[in-house]
Amino acid sequence: MGKYILKRCGYIVVVFLILSFLMYSLYNLIPTDPARQELEPQRKGLKADEYQMLYQQLRKEMGLDDPLVVRYLRWMGLWQDTDGTFNGVLEGNFGYSNLYKRNVVEVIQAPMGNTIFINIFSTIASLSITIPLGIYCAVHKGKRFDSATQVVTMLGYSIPVYIIALIFMYIFCVLWRVFPIMGQKTAGMEYANSWEEFVDMLYHIALPVIVMTFGSLGGMTRYVRSSMIDALSMDYIRTARAKGLKEKVVIYSHAWRNALLPVITSILGWFLGIFGGSVIIENTFSLNGMGKLYWQGLNNMDFELVLAIQMFYSIVSLVGSLLIDISYGLVDPRVRVDK
């Protein structure tokens, strides 16, 4: 097992390097001039020759005139920076946000915290609804409840999340005024203690979590249902029932454990997804999360920020796929991951 994990880690490094070069090259192919973008607000206050001098100076400082490979190696920390030091990803410098004028790591901290906080609630809520619902539907396949659930989940699966968000906003925020329409805290509120602040935050993220949960019900419910239907049709289930085992034991000990293998891929995927924000939800509800930050980075051509976020997601995905493979071995003894 240890050898297998080491080998996979080696692959991860190689894939990461290839991916990072591809991503870096792609962003650098976009026809934009960061030096011009940086100086544009000052342009009117400068004389033409002053502007040109500063522009050329900035291009030099940013290393924009160097070949792509040199810039990539510099970003990775494998080539000397313009100030003569090695200061890249490998040295722990994940870049500098041109938009926020801060190190990317500092920029990401607060949105990452928010995204994880919101997604944990949403993931737990979704799983605690979809798994029992999927099992119940599979066990009562073809019954009225199952049919109704199929319709509702198909509806939830088909409607884009921004439509769901807008409908829920209208009903819960504008019509009934039960939940706040945006943000993460009540503006102007003075909290007596941190518990009150926490409750206010929960109040604000309640609707986004409900929308995210509603939007994800369809997929997982149907997935669990179909997996359980497959498992329930197996011979060992018939044998278990023939042995006179209780239906609950048959369903949860025999069928569910066997149905778990395909489901676990999705579940782990979801948990890994807690790091990734939702561009639509966060923008609609004005939440400061990773999705929104990523969107802003792209809109403002803040490529070091965007690259850092994407590289982080790449690592999460690569490590995640390793964890999923390992978990197969843990869940199903028939699977030998080191072979």
Partner: protein, 635 residues
Amino acid sequence: MKKILAMLLTMVMVFTMVSAIAEDEHVLIYGTSTEISGDFAPGAWWTNNAADAMIRELSNDCATVVMNKEGEYIVNPTVAESVEGVMNEDGTKTYTIKIKDGLVYSNGDPITIQDFVWPTAFGCSAVASEVGAKLTAYLTIEGGQAYYDGTASVISGLRILDDKTMSLQIVADKVPYFYDITYASVSAYSMKYWLGEAVTIKDDGEGVYFEGLTKDAIAATLEASRFNASESRVSTGPYKLVEFDQASKQATLVINENYNGNYEGQKPSVPKIVITRAEDATWFDAMKTGAFNFYDTITDGEQVNQAMDLIEDEDNKKALGYGFNYAQFDRPGYGKIMFQCDFGPTQFEAVRHAVALLLDRNEFANTFCQGWGGVVNGPYGSAMWMAQAAEEWLDENLNNYAYNPEAAVAELVADGWVYDENGNDYVEGIRYKKVTAEEAGNYVHTKKLDDGTYLMGLEIEWSSSEGNSVSDLLSVMLANGEQTAAAGMKINQNVMTFSELLNYMYRDATQGDKYGVPTYCMYNLASNWSTPVYDRSYDYTVDPALLAEGYNTNFIINPELDKLTMDMVYGVEAGDSDTYLEIWKQFIQLWNELLPEVPLYSNIYVSVYPDWLENYEQTSYWSFQNAIVYANIAK
């Protein structure tokens, strides 16, 4: 099930109670469509987004020269005892500034002359660049460049003359300048707070210099001060920035009890301002439900009409406990079609005129602004003092290019657009004109006939940015308009990202060879003057070197236009508004004839505020941060 329902209901009740607490107070909750970055440096030293700038101005106001309500730059009598400017024999200009006694910071500490001097001196120091600050004072202050380069140990043009007096000498090539009083605008920032106690600033009689100023010595303090939003922040403005919640991007400001007052000695009375993020898609519902109660500068006509509905909504007023009022003001700028005038059909004045005549600009402005806007006939906004001072003259002397397809055709015919693609007399389709090889250039819609004649088609390549509602309307009303086709003109819309559009407009070959080639002769953009400074110098330069560097994006080669724009600011003494206005009129008239751009619309902006706020008067240049100081809460 009942238990769960009861629990949920209890939770909702608790949440609602919690949210109700905030609604009892009169807190001004300002929704901003620009996200606060959290960088609260003294000026646009690092970042410069609108929300940051507003917070910066609310929390810092101790400048020697400021803008008044009328949009004029004046000496701030609250801060400066005197500001005197003297032209020197070597062409430089020296401003001597004496500050008033008794000025204090938000924490009660006295403001010293050093606090006024250090930001300018810092801008002359290479250390500023090392810490990433975009400061260019060294280009303006005599001796600044030498200090920046390290060839001088003092800034000879910056002096501390005594405990209350300083002077700054402006380099010769920047004066005379119509707005040169702005050079004498220095603001006080606590040096102790921003640079730490290890740094001092001195003047031994030859000029100002720093002691102990190194990147290592100040980097940590500067970084902490930039992002600090708490009671420990030392500032001078009407409000103190006491909190910035990075997670929710919400800033809270409270009255600065030690504020010295604005230029009229006015101090604020609205106790608390919270600045929060507003989304374009949900701002209306957010205001309706009380998530924020102030929305500044609504530009879109449809949104303005929504705001009017909100103001008239009595039911919502009852539900919220307050209603809304609004302030309206003209946009200091305009949306436009911009031509590049050195190639293709738009190099010919008649074609530019014809485009203007083929577009019903009044209808366009009305549709786009939904009644909240109008049309201007030159490169100005109706909010500018020049436009107001010369209103009658503008009406009488400018061509308004009223919609007239027949006149457009007549202009084209007179200019020689009378051929078809084979060089025969024009009957229908796209018009052609016989041009010289130089005029033909490499424009895609030119052809060379067998007899060596060059024909240019009246086919205009238009670059428009994606997701742009102005482009959509232009496409319908102009490019695909029947009148355009009937006039023998074709306009091809090419949708691209804004950065790509800029590359083509600047002809920036560093981004790719294709951008260096003149390709699109028409763009749709907008111009805004967020301050009253109307300085068009270099915008119409004829210097080939500057043209190559992206100045004069219209590529219109007219020495008179260039001269007027340079003279307007560099040929007029500060304060000589009459001469300035005279040159401005000449410039506007020539521009109106040459028509390097077709102004499309100039909006009326609207800000919505709660009806418990009184005496709130916002104008184009007198923005929220200025106007709120005069506002009060209704009793």
